[in-house]
Symmetry: C2
Subunit: 133 residues, 2 copies
DNA sequence: ATAATTGCTTTCAAAATTGAAGCAAAATGT
DNA sequence: ACATTTTGCTTCAATTTTGAAAGCAATTAT
């Protein structure tokens, strides 16, 4: 049953089998920053994910158990997505991508992100703890 | 000139524009573990990358400045690939993927990787230092 | 009652990926 | 010296994935 899913028994390769694309970790990013999001929220992010892609990435992440989908308390048409612990555990990866990007793509990174990256360098553990709570 | 290359000024999204696929970080992985590799070495890795993909990922990583390509000292047909500092700086990302994979995909991860992950948990900084040197 | 919003699904062309075969230069074997 | 193998790719057809746009049904707002 896993034979089709993973290329090898390497944890890196296996993680990439799940997250190795241009969109999945951006969904995780938005949830790390905001705690909870709706379809529309993700859809309106700067990077402009196509709704078809967004729908299937959310489905995959839910099936994987990295996020949950629950009803909005008052609006039946809206769903609320949140990270599970499995999803939150991706925070270190995300945070290291920020550090790498900030160091090596500095010229085109936003000031806001640079400041976040600075906080990270000063206190990685603290920032991580905050993000994952 | 960057307008086509990056979807936004977010460092995460930008890093994913460069590394967000199933193969690129496996090349980095092999170089982190082994120091230097040849085309054949990468090609023979467990995950079976197609040679066409390998060729263009190596080219992209070289253009990006994440690795260098140099001549073999005695065999003119062989090239030696090595990580630059820019490439080595991806080590934290790789290492966090190992930690995540080991925790959440435990049942299908090799014993060898589990042991490495254990060393990581005990001494992340030390292992990182070793990998990046 | 009508219009707008939300969370999708559908469609389809374009782009990326795979797997296999091919190839030239260099190295190795005899 | 000559044939064979190795190495590092390139090429190509077939399949898969993606992106852009349109569509849609069930609410919700007016």
């Amino acid at each position: 049953m896993c034979e089709k899913k993973f290329r090898s028994t390497c944890p890196i390769s296996s993680a990439l089998d799940l997250f190795g694309d241009k969109w999945t970790l951006l969904i995780v990013r938005d949830l790390l920053y905001h705690g909870s999001r709706t379809f529309k929220d993700f859809y309106q992010a700067e990077e402009k994910i196509p709704s078809s892609r967004l729908a299937d990435r959310l489905k995959k992440l839910e099936q994987l158990g990295a996020l949950t989908k629950e009803n909005h308390p008052t609006n039946k048409k809206v769903f609320i997505y949140r990270l599970t612990q499995k999803g939150k555990d991706l925070a270190p990866v995300i945070v290291d991508l920020i550090t790498w990007g900030n160091k090596h793509l500095e010229e085109h990174i936003s000031e806001e992100s640079k400041e976040f990256a600075k906080r990270l360098e000063e206190n990685r553990e603290g920032v991580l703890k905050e993000l994952m709570k």
